[in-house]
Amino acid sequence: MGLKEMNKVMSNKWVITLYVLPALLLIAILVFIPLILTGYYGLMDWDGVGEMYFIGLENYVTALQDMKFWDSAWHSFLLAIFSTLSLAIYLAISLILASKIRGANLLRKIYLIPMLLSSVAIAQLWIKVFNPTNGMLNHILIALGVENPPAWLADTSIVLFAIFVPILWQYAGFYILIYYAALKNIPESIIEAARIDGASPLQIAYRIKLPLIMGVIKVTIVLAVVGSLKYFDLIYVMTGGGPNGASEVMASYMYKLAFSSKDFGYGSAIGFLLLVITLIVTVIIRKVTASKEEIQY
């Protein structure tokens, strides 16, 4: 009995197949095949139940000329920009949190709580917060002496930004958690050495800590941008993309086309564009933020 026997047992093809196949089949059938089919359905004129008619690239051409699609794409990109910018705030909070603050562990868990709630609960809660006459926000604003506070979700010029607030609120704790963990991973000796050399806390943060967690920061940028581009839940529940398309994003527009207007062909085309845009943007961010050498410590 030796290595040979061991290798033989551990490379038994039947066992490997038996162990991998259930997971592989599920993910192939329910994740990858549908993704490919989305692109294919995008070539069809189809109401979801009846006959499919092949119409070539017509849906994709229509999409490129569809102002509603471009508006929704712009809103998605705006969310991506806001999410990415907000990372700076989370980074600052994490820097404070990781600098020997008592109760840091408890605080980062408190920050995480919104992320544990369902989108429907968050949406319903913030609908109430934004309620023009009885909501928490306007109650506070009126108490502070603001006359005629806005009707947040009903105002086409404000609604998109109002809805960004709960979206950012939901994920803030997630990013703080990640930055905090990365910062805590920096060896204390490096910080100590810099301190002995007379570096100020700000210098240490900016010149030592940030470069050392650059890899993590890049990952969070990708997560924030991709997560924003495909964002759906709160927008669908809170406003349904309204009023008058003012808060429509790509995913909500796609969903509406397919399941409200029964235009499955066109909806699929938008869904496929969403996939392609997400992939392209991911590659671009990776390229732009790629450095020649990763910092090692």
């Binding site: 490379s11 809660l125 963990a181 991911t282």
Partner: protein
């Protein structure tokens, strides 16, 4: 000087904490009030009397069915996901075969897929095999979409298991199945519990799939159920608040008891991105 600095920092951190939890506290407060008190009183005020009848009212109004559906769909999906993911991770990390790296890569790609891009074909697929408005469509979809993150969390643990365990088992004449189910799987209990709680949060909170595939009230889970349910209490804020609190309570309780596991699991989801 230094003390003042720390004081300012604590104020900042406390302010953020308040911003994160205050809306939820406000929700809990108004779930115990009646409309008159919510609309005229301060949002920060405690209820003049705790109106638990709001909770009784919505529970008797039929929210129980949704609650039960959420529990069984979440649980069954967790069991299948964790079992399949463990088996696949075992084969990928411990067994010797040429395609193990590409197959792992395939699962990891699954982490970045925008689910909405797949939902139209999924819908028509389920329509064709008569799984629309059938809770099993939800169970298998949850399983498939949670496999990547579950495998990702399991990976690190499986890589660190010592080879000697398998050697000893094989020398003792143990079959691979016995080795996996009786020795390896029990050893992974600490990381399994992390995957269970992460799956629980995802499944319990999921909205789009249920909203798309399920139309009968009898099969709806809490997220979609309360979305319609709230409609009938349009102006009764206390009832809406009570409904929302009931829907988030199981997850908040799980977090209270297993916060370290939650933190661990959520961190793992960002390691590779």
């Amino acid at each position: 000087m230094k003390r003042i600095g720390y004081f300012v920092l604590y104020i900042c951190l406390g302010g953020v904490a308040l911003f994160q939890v205050f809306p939820i506290i406000w929700l809990f407060l108004f779930s115990l009030k009646d409309n008159r008190e919510i609309f005229s009183g301060s949002p920060f005020a405690l209820p003049s009397e705790f109106r638990w009848e709001n909770y009784v009212k919505v529970w008797e109004g039929g929210i129980g069915t949704y609650f039960w559906n959420s529990i069984w769909i979440t649980s069954v999906a967790i069991i299948i996901t964790v079992l399949f993911a463990s088996m696949a991770t075992f084969a990928i990390t411990r067994m010797k075969w040429k395609l193990s790296k590409p197959v792992l890569g395939l699962f990891m790609v699954g982490l970045m897929i925008p689910i909405h891009s797949a939902i139209i074909p999924l819908f028509s697929m389920f329509l064709n095999i008569n799984l629309i408005d059938n809770p099993w469509s939800i169970v298998i979809t949850y399983t498939a979409y949670n496999l990547p993150i579950t495998i990702m969390i399991l990976l690190g643990f499986y890589y660190t298991l010592p080879r000697e365990i398998e050697e000893a088992a094989i020398i003792d004449g143990c079959s691979i199945n016995r080795m996996f189910f009786k020795i390896i799987l029990p050893m992974t209990a600490p990381v399994l519990s992390t995957t269970v709680i992460i799956n629980m949060i995802y499944n319990w909170n999921e909205f789009v799939f249920v909203n798309t595939f399920i139309s009968s009230d009898a099969y709806k889970t809490l997220t979609v159920g309360i979305q319609n349910f709230i409609g009938q209490y349009m102006t009764d804020w206390g009832a809406i608040g009570a409904t929302l609190i009931i829907s988030v309570l199981p997850i908040l309780l799980a977090f209270l008891f297993f916060s370290n596991k939650v933190v661990e699991g959520i961190s793992a989801s960002a390691v590779k991105g």
